[in-house]
């Protein structure tokens, strides 16, 4: 599903590469934790998958597509197959829960009938039944993140990228979010989650990829957050 082949990314004006010679595979339906200290290259990894950045060297394949050969106007179609969740939720403050989720379908031109059918299903899936008409500022952080997950998943992407989705949420609520991500993973969606949350990584027992200074220092199936340093 995601294939990195010797990928190096160096940002302009920086001598040290953000990612260096990274080669790895993520299979369809896998759940992968991406761990490592700040600045270790986690976000760069996710941005490369979205083709928000292009690698300085190496090849990246996402959903069978060689990103180097993807023309600019085809990038939106790649992104329709990838859902994204962020630490800061990124909801539209002037739209209700329902409309925030529906927005993702409206802007890719889905028919209204389809939207009316799918959006309530996804809102229920993330556990926000009966809160369709709430505005984001009427929701708790955990609930807002559920809306963001619903928006990322509503178009049934093949891959869900989550960049520290529990970073702004207390541990008890985080467990709820993780259950939602796990439920989504069980539908066959590949989930890649960058995180600092050791408790979550340890409790989930999924594959863990650890980055340090832009290099993969550990790739472990059924891993935990930290080795003994």
């Amino acid at each position: 599903m995601i294939h990195f082949d010797n990928v190096t990314k160096t940002y302009a004006n920086q001598s040290r590469p953000a990612l260096e010679n990274v080669s790895l595979d993520v299979e369809k339906g896998e759940f992968v934790f991406l761990v490592g200290p700040s600045g270790s290259g986690k976000s760069t990894f996710l941005r490369l998958i979205l083709r928000e950045e292009r690698p300085s060297d190496g090849r990246i394949y996402v959903a069978g597509k060689d990103l180097a050969r993807l023309t600019n106007w085809k990038v939106p179609y790649l992104r329709r197959r990838i859902g994204c969740v962020f630490q800061d939720f990124r909801l539209l403050p002037n739209k209700s829960v329902y409309h925030n989720v529906a927005f993702a379908l409206q802007v890719i031109g889905k028919p209204r009938r389809f939207i009316r059918k799918v959006v309530p299903e996804v809102i229920d899936l993330v556990g926000l039944e009966g809160k369709h008409d709430r505005m984001p500022d009427e929701l708790s952080g955990g609930e807002q993140q559920r809306v963001a997950v619903a928006r990322a998943f509503v178009n049934r992407p093949m891959i869900l990228l989550a960049d520290e989705p529990t970073g702004n949420i207390d541990p008890a609520t985080s467990i709820g979010i993780m259950k939602v991500l796990d439920r989504i993973n069980r539908t066959g969606t590949t989930v890649v989650m960058a995180t600092h949350d050791a408790a979550i990584v340890d409790s989930m027992r999924k594959r863990v990829i650890e980055l340090e200074y832009g290099k993969v220092v550990r790739d472990q199936s059924r891993g935990v957050y930290g080795q003994a340093y």
Binding site: L50, E52, N72, W73, V75, P76, Y77, L78, R79, R80, R81, I82, C84, R90, L92, P93, F103, A104, Q106, V107, I108, G109, P111, R112, R151, A152, N155
Partner: protein, 303 residues
């Protein structure tokens, strides 16, 4: 393409920076109105000019018993032989298209008609004081006047040669000057309008940066991301155009049409002329706003 959704986004966009939108509409309206006025002026000047070009361009006034110029005193009134000779010579010139003789009776009648608003003046002048003349139509008025005038100048019986176009030249100069001023102001305002459109769209893009960021994230096509802004610009342009159309109708009805009273013949612009200018203003307005927002967005939303 979900039209309702796009229009809703456009409406929020226009409402959110209302002051900018109003400023934009006003500037577009005024610049289009001025541009249109310039075009109407051009048409008006053309109208009067075409009329005159189809008419006499050279008048050769003949000596009569009452002529006061020293030349006429010397030779006396023009005789029939002299008149015949002048007519024949004029007709022989290749530059001359047409010559016709206007008798004193005809000339007097025209005179009374032209000054019909001023009977005290027409009553003072008798028929014998209005000279007869040859009215000459030239093939090329500007170039050939001197050649044709030269062949009859100073002949016995010839009093005065008048170049009709030189009488009108001052009037045209005035109209041309007014037109140029209007067009220059219009161009300056259009530049202002372009900058204002660019600014408004940029502001709008900034206001909606969350929306556009999410749109890009969930895979909206570039066209879909840009469409609301484009439509926003074009709608503002159309509003400006509507106001401009009203102003242009006013310019014609209250301004240009009043020129008619200074002319004994019809110079009034037709409704079709006005419609043509208004349609041109619309195309201009839509292009101006559409192209500017498109180019601005290209630079602002580049992924």
């Amino acid at each position: 393409m979900r039209a309702q959704f796009v229009l809703q986004e456009v409406w929020t966009g226009l409402r959110r920076n209302l002051t900018m939108t109003i400023a934009l509409v006003v500037v577009v309206a005024i610049s289009l109105a001025l541009l249109g006025t310039g075009l109407l002026f051009v048409k008006q000047v053309d109208n009067t000019r075409t009329y005159w070009q189809g008419k006499v361009q050279l008048s050769i006034y003949l000596c009569t018993t009452t002529s006061v110029s020293p030349q006429c005193h010397q030779n006396g009134p023009a005789t029939q032989t002299e008149k015949n000779q002048i007519a024949a010579d004029l007709r022989a010139l290749p530059q001359v298209e047409k010559v016709y003789y206007e008798s004193q009776a005809q000339a007097y009648q025209h005179f009374r008609q032209d000054f019909s608003r001023d009977p005290s003046f027409t009553n003072l002048v008798t028929r014998s004081e209005i000279p007869d003349s040859f009215q000459v139509k030239l093939r090329n008025a500007a170039a050939d006047f001197n050649i044709v005038a030269g062949t009859v100048q100073g002949r016995p019986g010839v009093d005065q040669i008048v170049n009709d176009s030189s009488i009108l030249a001052k009037f045209y100069k005035l109209l041309d000057g007014a037109r140029n001023a209007v067009v220059i102001i219009a161009i300056v305002l259009i530049i202002a309008a372009v900058l204002l459109v660019a600014n408004t769209i940029r502001l709008s893009a900034f206001n909606r940066r969350r929306e556009t960021a999410i749109m890009r994230l969930v895979g909206a096509s570039n066209f879909y991301v840009q469409l609301p802004f484009l439509v926003e610009g074009i709608i503002a342009g159309l509003f400006g155009w509507l106001i401009a159309a009203g102003l242009l109708i006013a310019v014609k009805q209250l301004g240009l049409d009043t020129l008619q009273q200074y002319f004994p013949y019809n110079i009034q612009l037709t409704a079709a002329d006005l419609v043509e200018v208004i349609v041109l203003a619309m195309v201009m307005g839509v292009l101006l706003c559409g192209v500017t927002s498109f180019v601005t967005l290209r630079r602002y939303l580049r992924a």
